[in-house]
Amino acid sequence: MLVDLVKKTALAATISIGFGSAAFAQSGDPIVFGGVLPLTGWGADAGEYNRRGYELWEKQVNAAGGLLDRPVEVKIYDDASDPTTTARLYERLITEDEVDVLLAPWSDDMTMPATTVAEKYGKPMVTGGATLDAIWGRGYQHVNGLLPSSYDYVGVPMRFIADMDGIKTVAILNNELTYTTGFGDAAAKNAEELGLEVVMHETYGADTTDFTALLTKARSANPDLVVGGTGGEDAVQILRQAKENDLNPKAFYFTIAPVDPEFVRLLGDSAEYVFGTTEWEPSLTALEGVDAFIAGYTEEYGEEPVEDVATSYGLAQVMAAAVESAGELDDAKISKALRTLEVPTVFGTYKVDPETGVQTGKKIYVMQIQDGERHILAPEANATATVRFPTPAWGDR
């Protein structure tokens, strides 16, 4: 995958350079949508999926006649998963490249500085792979969320699990990264509101591979629910080592990781019964335009799209709807539209609180791995399976 990525990124860079300068002289110039993604480094997997979503959107919109009678062009820079670089590259997109519309970065770590840059220049931004409550706690006028906050991301499945028999205690383990710490804190807050006792809350280093000591500690605490504020690799290591250390809660819940197909591929049977949060699945066929989106993606990449692809595609749809509503490329008008519009996208409905920009329209789904597949358990209208609970002990599987 990465080989392709490197080639395509190189190609994309060449194309942008080749056409960039000539484009200004023409009428019917493309409307340039610019964003920064982690195409290398720890966020590379998600970054690549997001890039694919933006580029598929670009292709499909141009095939359908463009935006405001002009073609669209997507321009993506790689921040190498470094938030400082993200900020610098957004400055460049805004001040040097003078792109028309901003696209979102990926993850809270990169979104925090990126939104500050966008707000400074009054450039409207809808954040994509970001849920940290702090993003919307700063009174920014040009920043809006596509995803609900961490509080709900973790809270919806926690409320679902807390309803099950015998869930009274919870152990929270979270990665030290900004977004995973946000998940850990959100889990603690939800636990308190749900009346669950937090018997352990530990933050581990981002490079941790050996979780034996932490899991031994968790086993002593004997929690009913284990919540992992994880990003990907760490969830895989934790679950494998939970098996080795015979940690047997009634339920495992991890953030982010379970929606990545890699999770099941690497863990096999050990991934069974794991709960997660999903914001999008290919089974949600009632969403507007989703058929063409899935068909287009499958044709291009030979596999079904995952959540991160739908996120960025939907995000670009929201930006385009705001541009269309404004009728021109006027940042103030686009910003205003983003606070008031309700936009149906392939990812779900976009609607934010007009005061804060916090997402209120998007549904969150509780997910569980069953027989190697991701299944939606709640809300009931979208459920593709019924819950399997409690999680059997490792020795009884």
Binding site: D45, T209, Q241
Partner: protein, 283 residues
């Protein structure tokens, strides 16, 4: 109490794998005076060797028997083509060269295999007795690692070639006067060091999921161990590695997992401040 024994055993087993990695690093450092920043990449290649070995249906740790000699030859090849040129150069040169080599190998690996997570898993679960849990894969890996390390120590201590290696490390000129071919010794040492790191990788790949960047997670620990054990001191590295394994687990258990991640840094700083020659060093 069973919890304490669980983390103690787990720390010691992890330490055995660290020892294998750090043993190679300290050997190259001590004998050749080269700080090999590409050492972690040999470990990474070992992880992938275990993966391919597992894919063919063999038990991954056995990859050491097949791939060990190949990695030795790989190390020899690196020495003959590249490393040889900087043996007597200032240390900055070896840092620059091996840093470049590290970046090169990592990126070739990413291009060849992609950046996704993998694991050469074959043994799952753990042995449990009286509330003590010992991961099966980790137990096998730790025992193999300590056997190789002790074998290596015996080789350096008692074998004629091993004595020649120590002689060159002690004083190259005098060793050469006695008829030892220092260049050949350097070649052997770099080959051995590379093979040791790869063996550590083969074993680590059966325990943890890895990407082509896995070397970065381990190299710092190897440096801390080398400093703590006394640069170039093989037995010191072995003891320091076991110590680091136990310290990491204990700090996570008793204090904080995030502080545990800093254990290696703290060890480097404290050793350099209070005992720069390392625990077994005599300088």
């Amino acid at each position: 109490m069973p919890e304490l024994l669980t983390i103690l055993i787990s720390g010691l087993l992890m330490g055995c794998i660290y020892a294998l990695l750090a043993g190679g690093l300290t050997l190259i450092w001590g004998v050749m005076g080269i700080v090999n920043l590409a050492h972690g990449e040999a470990l990474m290649l070992g992880c992938f060797a275990a993966l391919y070995f597992a894919a063919t249906g063999f038990v991954p740790p056995l990859a050491i028997v097949v791939f060990g000699p190949l990695f030795f030859l790989f190390g020899v090849l690196l020495y003959v083509t590249i490393i040889r040129r900087i043996v007597n150069a200032p240390e900055l040169m070896s840092l620059l060269l091996t840093f470049g080599l590290s970046i090169f190998i990592k990126n070739v690996a990413v291009l060849a295999w992609g950046g996704e997570l993998r694991i050469a898993s074959y043994l799952e679960g753990s042995f449990a007795f009286g509330g003590i849990y010992v991961s099966k894969a980790r137990l096998v890996a730790g025992l193999i690692a300590i056997t190789i390390s002790l074998g290596m120590y015996a080789f350096l201590r008692y074998a004629r070639q091993g004595q020649a290696i120590r002689a060159v490390a002690f004083n190259r000129r005098i060793a050469e006067q006695c008829g030892i071919n220092a260049n050949a010794i350097y070649m052997i040492v770099f080959g051995l060091g590379t093979a040791l790191a790869a063996a550590a990788g083969i074993l680590a790949g059966t325990i943890f999921a890895f990407t082509p960047l896995v070397g970065e997670q381990f190299i710092l620990k190897a440096f801390a161990i080398t400093v703590l054990g006394g640069m170039g001191n093989f037995l010191g590295a072995l003891i320091a590695a076991l110590l680091l394994g136990v310290i990491e687990q204990s700090v996570t258990y008793f204090i904080d997992a995030q502080i545990s991640a800093a254990a290696a840094f703290v060890i480097i700083i404290l050793t350099l401040l209070f005992r720069p020659q390392g625990i077994l060093g005599s300088r």
